[in-house]
Assembly symmetry: C2
Homo-oligomer: 183 residues x 2
Amino acid sequence: MAVLTAAVRMFNARGYHATSLDDVAASLGVSKPTIYHYLGNKEQVLVECLTMGMDQLLDAADKARAGLGKGIDRLRAFLLSYAEVNMEEFGRCNILTANETLSPDARETIRLLKRRIHATLEDLVAEGVADGSIASCDARFAALTLASALNGPSRWHRPDGPQTPREIATILVDFLTAGLAPR
Amino acid sequence: MAVLTAAVRMFNARGYHATSLDDVAASLGVSKPTIYHYLGNKEQVLVECLTMGMDQLLDAADKARAGLGKGIDRLRAFLLSYAEVNMEEFGRCNILTANETLSPDARETIRLLKRRIHATLEDLVAEGVADGSIASCDARFAALTLASALNGPSRWHRPDGPQTPREIATILVDFLTAGLAPR
DNA sequence: ATCAATACCTACTGAAGAGTAAGTATTATT
DNA sequence: AATAATACTTACTCTTCAGTAGGTATTGAT
């Protein structure tokens, strides 16, 4: 829905709290009650945006789980998609929105979705360790670190920069695969 | 000052926008005008908190630059401090506070401080690459990735968890040093 | 004793913005 | 043609704060 794409852009650019629904409505050339006609309240607008982003991630997670190849290959495929989604508007919104922004109910809903993504990450790492394609490590911390690292571009990436999201994602994933130490 | 430690705790726990200065004052058992007696406005309270955190980071950066050893050793020392600071209240505040929270002026002030930290990170990586202690890589992206990864604990670390901040920092830095690929 | 600075207070003002009441215009249905 | 659902509107209300006006109490300096 157009309301969501207008809202997510403003939320990402100015922050949720600094964006009034009057602003969002004005950017669409309509009035605020029009938004209330479609969505119950401001938080629901945000939750809908967050859910759009999470759905893209969930799709990528399903594909990665169903994919072929060694653990490292499937993990890398997922990491690339993960980083790319987080450079799109809806994905970014999930990274830029702090937890305490949401009411306890909405927070829990989103938390459950995030947990599924994190579980996928952890499982893929564990599989890679099991099949020898990934160095032995604590899968939980590894997943947390990978996710944090790939959340970065949501904050500093510029759509008009020299690299495409895909290129940025590849550089980061290569770096995380290789580590700092020389071989 | 007591105002700052009370404020930073509430900002971190509930978010800047969800924290009123009446709340902060009440948690200290004083009235809001008392806060205005010491600090000019709400944003200045935040900026002061952010600056406290950045100062800790700047100290660590100076120590790392002045340190001995190969690039990788000095980088690792800095990364450990960086991660640790970001698990303390004032450090966390820098991670949890979105840019658009600040006015353009304050944003610029903080941005300059952050740039110094990032430059240190980048320089240490470049030195390590030059002396062969770090694998050849794009220093800019490496620094960005390392920082993002080490910002993670600010969001998920619990002070009452099983690991100390130092332990968490060590696990993450080891992981980033080694990378995913087996050797 | 007087003056002034410090550290607070109660009680306001003013603005922003979420959400609503109560309507109108347009299109689809019977 | 009459009804009803859809897609909007203007013009509010109500709450929550940031920030202020204008005080008092306490302490230290002269």
